[in-house]
């Protein structure tokens, strides 16, 4: 089996159908009349935001082979950016604050990336974590930046453009659709990127960096660009998170969220962005399910994670693919 196939880079028909059905179901969800639909709309918005975050990490982890244990730093930084950009009495304009937050986190990722991208393997994992901890403590120890209590975001960003307001993000349903639109857009962009010359170079670096260098690709530049782009996209997710919850604290940059993102990507399946989405939804759903079930949900969650690594090393998409491939083989055997 070729590496591309093993990584499910080219999505089989079954998974494409699954994604399309999922997207349509999401789009239709707010239309279903039900009791506590507001709660579920918020929950699904959160899952979509985490899916964007997981996709941004997958660009590093699954495509380029760089496992960052500090990716939450960029998520949190963009959240803080929104908190600082929003005045206490009026909302901030969406149209400049979102780009500023994403570019700002991208810039932070560029600076940090300059240091971390030179390291390899397990060193990379730990160095990214160390830099994220640094960012964490800058905010945690500094009362001017909110300290350990964090900051409030008093208003959601305002979408008014030259006096015309196309949509209102204070409305939960509108915010849901805005997030869904960004999720689809970023997914499409990343899929396009994956099969562009740039994306092919990143994949090449994952498979064999020495050979890529020998062929003449400056791997440092490619990896740094990927790191910066992933940081900026994580920033988009962090911005949305802060806008939705109206609150940021240093935990958003913490070690746990970074590890969660890694788990989401592995759980879904790496290197194709679809897995990151599936993983984010599955992880969050399982966690909420366990939390509803028992006070000791961490025990179940931990066991779930251990079982997934033991028995589904290629993630949920890998399982689906294996299942559909097996049925197809059976169908071919018995014509």
């Amino acid at each position: 089996m070729s590496t591309a196939k093993a990584q499910l880079e080219i999505l089989p028909r079954s998974i494409q159908i699954l994604l399309s059905v999922g997207a349509i179901a999401l789009a239709a969800f707010p239309l279903i009349p039900m009791e506590s639909s507001g709660f579920y709309i918020q929950l699904l918005s959160q899952m979509m935001i985490l899916a964007i975050f997981a996709m941004s990490l997958d660009l590093l982890q699954g495509v380029t082979g760089l496992v960052s244990l500090g990716h939450a730093a960029y998520f949190g930084l963009a959240g803080y950016a929104l908190a600082f950009l929003t005045p206490a009495d009026v909302p901030v304009s969406l149209w400049w604050s979102l780009p500023v937050a994403a570019l700002g986190t991208g810039l932070a990722a560029l600076v940090i990336g300059f240091f971390v991208v030179r390291t390899h393997g397990i060193y990379f994992i730990m160095v990214t974590m160390a830099f994220a901890q640094m960012v964490f403590y800058i905010f945690f120890d500094n009362a001017d930046l909110g300290g350990s209590d964090g900051l409030y975001v008093y208003f959601r960003p305002d979408a008014t453009l030259f006096g015309w307001q196309p949509f209102d993000l204070e409305n939960k349903t509108t915010f849901f659709y805005f997030t869904l639109a960004l999720l689809v857009l970023i997914y499409a962009f990343l899929r396009r990127l994956l099969f562009s010359p740039f994306g092919r170079a990143l994949t090449g670096i994952r498979v064999n960096e020495h050979r890529m260098r020998a062929v003449g690709y400056g791997s440092f530049g490619y990896k740094l660009t990927a790191f910066t782009l992933a940081g900026a996209l994580a920033g988009v997710a962090g911005y949305l998170w802060a806008a939705q919850t109206g609150y940021v604290n240093p935990e958003l940059m913490g070690f746990h969220l970074s590890a969660h993102a890694i788990m989401m990507v592995i759980l879904g399946g790496m290197g194709n962005f679809a897995g990151a989405i599936v993983g984010a939804f599955a992880f969050e759903w399982v966690m909420h399910f366990f939390k509803d079930l028992t006070k000791h949900w961490q025990l179940l969650m931990g066991s779930f994670i251990v079982l997934v690594v033991l028995f589904a090393p290629r993630g949920l998409l890998g399982l689906i693919e294996r299942f559909t491939a097996a049925t197809k083989e059976k169908a071919e055997e018995t014509p």
Partner: protein, 287 residues
């Protein structure tokens, strides 16, 4: 800062550094020899501290608690290696990260079920309960010196074990070239189990001796884990000597920054790590 004050901070940083070394040595050996990234290492420290609290509340004697706790921790480490870790030697580092993160969840919740989520304190043993008078109003607690001595003793023991004994030779050989060592007829599986159990034991003992100083609380594992990673990375992964030097460096920087530059104290250690990696991307003593 006058001399007595300086001396106190110096002793504190050495004590903290040696404690970190106990944890980092296990972590670095487990990675260097078995190739396993163990995020759950901090929870063994927490386990040790809780065992110390649990046993002292029954036997009222920290020494008995430490002996019992160490035996229990080593047995626990052995069982864990046999049950789960050994299936992951040849797996990707990512899978190991995921596995051990899952284990953190499980151990945390198990602790919460067994011993609750309260903060506990462990009394300093009566015989070490004094303080050494440095100046008129500055004194240094004897127990902290005992902790330093215990950790230094264990560090020396570890050094002798690895560099002078037959078992140590096999451990080094296994780290250097696994296939070759195996084909010489050395049971590498057994060596791995010993190293893992030893690592768990060291982390737990660190937690037990630290319990009277730091108190016993649920989140104590995760902060210490991150510090250990910093130590291991600065020292060079797999190098026990590097871990010792790095742990002492981290102890010094952390302790003195807290006193002299409290604004950047939280970050100082990470800045040290970044600075070291800028010049030595593989750590100070990459073996």
């Amino acid at each position: 800062m006058d001399f007595a004050n300086f001396l106190i901070q110096l002793l504190n940083s050495v004590q903290y550094g040696l404690l970190l070394f106990m944890l980092a040595a296990g972590l670095t050996l487990i990675f260097g020899i078995m190739g396993v990234v163990n995020l759950a290492h901090g929870t063994f420290y927490m386990l040790g501290a809780y065992l110390a609290w649990f046993f002292t509340s029954h036997f009222d004697n920290l020494l008995i608690a430490i002996v019992l706790g160490a035996l229990l921790a080593v047995a626990f480490g052995w069982a864990l290696e046999w049950l789960l870790i050994r299936h992951f030697y040849k797996r990707d580092h990512l899978d190991q990260v995921l596995l051990t993160f899952g284990l953190i969840y499980i151990f945390q919740e198990a602790r919460s079920i067994l011993w609750g989520d309260d903060v506990h304190s462990v009394a300093v043993p009566a015989m070490f309960n004094g303080a050494i008078q440095l100046t008129e109003n500055l004194s240094y607690p004897v127990y902290r010196l005992v902790v330093s001595a215990v950790c230094a003793g264990l560090a020396l023991g570890l050094y002798l074990l690895i560099s002078k004994t037959r078992l140590g030779m096999k451990i080094r050989a296994g780290a250097f070239n696994r296939e070759m060592t195996e084909s010489l007829g050395i049971n590498i599986r057994f060596i791995h189990a010993i190293v893992f159990a030893m690592g768990v034991g060291l982390a737990a003992v660190a937690g037990m001796v630290a319990a009277p100083i730091s108190s016993v609380y649920p989140g104590m594992g995760s902060s210490v884990l991150i510090m250990c990673f910093v130590v291991v990375v600065i020292g060079g992964i797999g190098s026990v000597r590097g871990a010792l030097v790095a742990a002492l460096m981290v102890g010094l920087v952390d302790t003195f920054c807290k006193v002299l530059l409290p604004e950047i104290a939280g970050m100082a250690v990470y800045m040290l790590m970044a600075a070291v990696l800028l010049f030595k991307p593989e750590g100070l003593f990459k073996s």
